[in-house]
Symmetry: C2
Subunit: 431 residues, 2 copies
Amino acid sequence: MERFSATYLIETPLDIAAAAESLAGEQSSGTFVSVPGETAALKERFAARVESIREIEECSSPSLPGCSANANSYRRAEVVVSWSLENVGYNLPTIVSTVQGNLYEMRQFSGLKLVDLEFPPTFSSHFNGPNFGIEGSRRLTGIQDRPLLGTIIKPSVGMSPQETAELVRTLAEAGVDFIKDDELMADAPHSPFNERVAEVMRVINDHADRSGKKIMFAFNLSDEMDRMLDHYDTVISHGGTCAMVSLNSVGIAGVKKICDRGKLAIHGHRNGWGMLNRHPLLGIDFKAYQKLWRLVGVDQIHVNGLQNKFCESDDSVIRSIKACQEPMFGGWEILPVVSSGQWGGQAPETYRQTQSIDLLYLAGGGILAHPDGPSEGVKALQQAWEAAVAGLSLEEAIVESPALLRSTEKFSKHLCTGLDQTPTSQGALVQ
Amino acid sequence: MERFSATYLIETPLDIAAAAESLAGEQSSGTFVSVPGETAALKERFAARVESIREIEECSSPSLPGCSANANSYRRAEVVVSWSLENVGYNLPTIVSTVQGNLYEMRQFSGLKLVDLEFPPTFSSHFNGPNFGIEGSRRLTGIQDRPLLGTIIKPSVGMSPQETAELVRTLAEAGVDFIKDDELMADAPHSPFNERVAEVMRVINDHADRSGKKIMFAFNLSDEMDRMLDHYDTVISHGGTCAMVSLNSVGIAGVKKICDRGKLAIHGHRNGWGMLNRHPLLGIDFKAYQKLWRLVGVDQIHVNGLQNKFCESDDSVIRSIKACQEPMFGGWEILPVVSSGQWGGQAPETYRQTQSIDLLYLAGGGILAHPDGPSEGVKALQQAWEAAVAGLSLEEAIVESPALLRSTEKFSKHLCTGLDQTPTSQGALVQ
C-alpha cells in the first residue's frame, strides 16, 4: 500500500528516537499492545513508521512550555514519519488530523513544527489540484510575459458597491491586471456581495469591451457554505473569473467544495497565518501548508512580499515563492501572491532572488497613492518589473522610469525596516 | 449599529495605546486617511475601536520573534477592541478573519492571544447555536443524573467494521452511554464509513431493543463536504444519534453546514488545538474558541481531562469545562468532553473543582483494559462519579467500590505526572 509522509522539526528533552516513536504511536496504532487479538502483522500494516531522524542541535531551555521543566538540555531533530494510505484513504481533513492532530499537545515535545509533506503519485488522480494555477491565471488575464500586477480595494471596509465600482473604473483605466476585495469585506450590510459583483463587473465588462482586456477581480466569497455557492454563481453570471476565500477562516471542506466547481480561479488568502507559523518551533511551515491547499485546489496563495509590513523575513518570503512554483506531481504550480507594502521598489530584489515572473504582485497604496495618480502607479510597477527582469537595480531602474522615481521618492521611506515608523502611518498607507 | 468585541492579551515594545490602535487600524479602516473623499463620519462608522486597555506586567525579552529585538522591555496588557456589525454582517468566517486575520503577523507585537469574544444579542436569532448541547445529549442518551460515560474505539486504526461492531457489543453489554470513533478513523479503506455505520448500528439498535438503552455513537464524518453530507444521511438512516467532526481539519464552513442539518448531535473534536494554543502568547484561548464553535452549532467539544496525558494543566482544563457550561445568550451550553488518560480516578477532583455532572466523560483503556473486564471498567467509572458527587475522595471511594479499587491498582501508576514514563506504554494504554 502507498504511504504518505510528514517531516517535522522536533525539540525534546527525551531520547530523540523514543520521542519520534511516541509521535508515530500517538498518530496511528499505539494501543495495539493493549487490545487482545491484534497481531504483529496488523501492527506492521497500520502503524506509522519513523523513516529517518537527523539530529540538528541542542539547546538549554525549552522553546514551548508544557514539557518537563527539569531537563538540562533539549535536542532538536528533523524527523520523517510515514503512514499507509490504508489508514485514512484520500480524505484530506483526516490526513490533516493524522499529520497534525494531537501532536502539538504532546508533553514529549518542547517544540514541534510540521515542515513538509509528501504524497504518493495516486493523489494526482484522486485530486484535481489547482484548476487554473499559474498558467490558468495568465490565460484568464491575458498577461504572459511579466508578473500579473494588481491591487486591493482600500479602505478595507466602508465603501458602497457604487463607490467600489468607481474605484475599479479608476484602476481599470490605470491599467491593472487584477483587483481584489479586502479579506475583511465579503458580504457586509454596506456592500452586499451580489450588488457589489453587479456594479463591479459592469465596469470590468465595459472596460473589456472597449479595451479587450478583462481584469481579474477576486470577489471575497468567504462565508457559510450555501452562501458561498450562491455567490460563486453570482460571479459567474456576471462574467467574473475569480473568487477569493480566507483559507483558514473557511476551512478545508468549504474551500475544496468551492474549488471543485472549477469555473473560477480561486484566490487563497491566508489571513490567520501568523497563528500557525510565527513561533519557529510551533505550527506548520509554509512549504507544507501550500501543498495542502494545492490538493484542495487553490490557484493563488498569499506569501507576503520582500520588506513587508509584517514580521516575516525576506528569506522566508523567497522560500515561500519558490515553494509555490515547485511542481507537485509534475505540475500543479500555485501562483504566489506577493503583497504587503509592495510598490515596485522591491521588484529588482524579488526577481534577483527568484528569477521568476510567475507572480501575482499586489500593490495597494503603491498604486492608488502614487503622487501622480494611479496610472503612473501602475506604470511604475510595470517599469520596475521590466527593469528587474533586465537585471537592473532599483537605482538603475529609476533613471529610466520617471514614474518609478516618483514612487521611490514617496514610498521608499515606508519600507518596513524597523519599528521606528508608527504603524498607522506606514502600515496603513502602503499595503 | 450593534458591535461585537474581542479581548486580546498583547505584548509589545511600543507604547501600549499606540500598539492597540495599530491593531484596530489593521483590522478595519486604517487606510481612510490616504483615500480621498472619506470623511470623519465614515471613519467613526467603520473604524474598529479600542474599548479598554489594562496593563498587566513588563518583561525583558520578547515572547515571539519578528518584533524589534532592540527593546529593553516589553509590556503586556489586556486590550478590548470592538467592531460595528456593519463591517461584516452575520458572516462567521469573515468575523474570524476580522478578530484574528493578520494580527498575529504584526511586528508591533511580540505576543498576541485572542482570549475572549463577545457578540451582541441579535446573534442568538441569526444563529441556531447547539441544536442539542448538554440537555439534548442527555435526552438522546436517557442519562440525566450523572455524567455521560463513554469510550473511544481503540486501536485508532486497523479494525474492520465487523471487529468494530464486536467491540461495540462488548462495550454495550458493559453499560457505556457513549462511544466514539477515533479522530484518525473516518472513511478508511479497511473500514468504509457506510459499512461501519451499518454494522455498529445493528448492534446498538439490537441492544436498544433489548435493554431500552440507546447508546450514542459519534461516527467520524470528517471528510470533504459532499461525502460528509452523504455520511450524515447514512447515520440517520441507520438510526444513529450523533456524528463527530474534527473541527480544525474540516473548518467552520464545513462544520456549520453539518450542524445546520440539525438531526444529529455534533461531537466536536479539537485535534490540532495545540497548534492554536500551546504558546501562552500566541493563538487563541479556549474561552474564545468554544464560543465560535457554539455559534457554528457544535453540541459537544473536547477539553482534555485532569492529569491528562498531554501538556495541558489541570487549571486550564477546569477553566475550559466551566467555559463550556457558561450560558451564551442565556443558554446554548455546549457539553464538555473530558478525555485523555481518564479512568475514574480523576472524578472526585473533577467534581470538586467544577461541582458539575454536565460532562461527557471518556475513558479508553480505563474501561477496556480494566483487569476484570469492560463491565467492571464501566462500573468503576459510575461508582467513581457517585462517590465524587457524594463528596468522597478517591481514597474513600475505593473503600466502597471494589471495581474502582481494581482500576486504581492498575491505572494510578499511569497518571501523567511527568516525563519519566515512556509515552508508548502509558500514553497509548490509558487514552
